[in-house]
Symmetry: C2
Subunit: 209 residues, 2 copies
DNA sequence: TGCGAGCTTGCAATAAGTGCGAGTTCACAC
DNA sequence: GTGTGAACTCGCACTTATTGCAAGCTCGCA
């Protein structure tokens, strides 16, 4: 088993593994910021984290995965939101709550998480490989969310319809973000982005609200 | 210039180029079908099409692009549908028409196009690199469509909202297809897929219709 | 304490993709 | 029809991601 099941006094091995994983992320962020994505080789990252190049791939299946270390947790957040739905919530309501929970910051403000998020956005905009990975991560998340939504509303949503619904909501957010983040200046003002995103999805998803 | 502008008696050079391009596609489809995506190297394809390996990359920027040779034309179809909108059409109406036009077959039934489409579907399901490329192509198309939609309804849609709207519709279709095509048996019955896709998007997009 | 699972790593190999530079071929203006 | 430059072809060398393998090390646990 590669992953801690349900944290209960992590063993030495697990602590070690987490530390190494984090070291890789830190090194990667640092180097990507300094030398760019293409200007940084996996070997560079491994060396900076003081492990063998070969070992890198024991932690991340590919160079770009380094930039999406918390994708699983995000899905969990959405799934939790679905599980905690109120008795009167319609699927669309639950979905909106779930997605806004995902967007919200997770815990205490974390410097590295913030740096990573910024860096990731920039690289998604500029590096095709990273953009591809981001889309990949997104559709995987969509699928998981759709499955849980269908299960939560088993009597009114089949799998396919649930997937269509989730796709519509995520697609709307995504489409808006794509344009919003396209120009560099505006992308750096998170409050502005949040506001315009809200406006756009309000209109695009109005028929549901 | 690499591409014919607006076909007017293609020059010899262009004819040659098209022929080579088509030969590459044919060879690629053939080899992918026979040996699988990972079992086929770019060098194999180039050799089968009787050109140098290096030259392959003058036609396609990457191995996976070979599988999406008609993406530009599809976007054109959607844009044309937007341009031909009726005076009473709402943005959502136009969008639905545009997207169904894109899905419709283009011209005469073409054996190779059909084979390519089938192959592509299978590889999207099974090869991450191809899936990534497909998503990439899709969001590019989304962006172009959103731009034109915003222009067509300049007085009621800004860029961001148009992108959100397009994202919602494309996302719904895409989400449904993802689940529908996930299992191999069902995916081979186009009529069944069409029907269930229609059902799912009817529900997911009902608020608009 | 000892064993088996899991981790680390070096080495070699494969394949995508790129820059370069020389040689061809074509479109087009004169 | 002739010359010229743009466009195309292609071999070569190189970088880099990614994988399989096998040897050696570490840790969890019975």
């Amino acid at each position: 088993m590669r992953y801690a099941e349900h944290m209960s006094s992590p063993t030495l091995r697990e602590r070690k593994r987490n530390r190494t994983r984090q070291a890789l992320i830190d090194a990667g962020v640092e180097l990507f910021e300094r030398n760019g994505y293409d200007g940084t080789t996996v070997a560079d990252i491994a060396e900076a984290a003081d492990i063998g190049t070969r070992t890198f791939f024991g932690y991340f299946a590919s160079k770009d995965e380094l930039l999406f270390p918390d994708s699983a947790r995000r899905v969990d957040v959405a799934i939790t939101a679905i599980a905690n739905r109120g008795p009167d919530d319609r699927p669309a309501d639950v979905l909106l709550r779930a997605l806004s929970d995902v967007a919200a910051p997770v815990g205490q403000p974390d410097d590295m998480l913030d740096r990573l998020a910024r860096l990731r956005l920039r690289l998604i905009r500029t590096v095709p490989a990273v953009r591809g990975r981001a889309l990949q991560v997104q559709v995987d998340a969509q699928r998981a969310i759709a499955t849980h939504l269908a299960r939560a509303y088993a009597d009114e949503l089949d799998d396919v319809t649930a997937a269509a619904l989730v796709g519509a909501f995520v697609g709307a957010i995504n489409g808006a973000l794509m344009v919003l983040l396209a120009d560099d200046e505006a992308a750096d003002d998170p409050e502005h982005v949040r506001q315009r995103l809200r406006d756009a999805t309000d209109v695009a998803l109005r028929p549901w609200r």
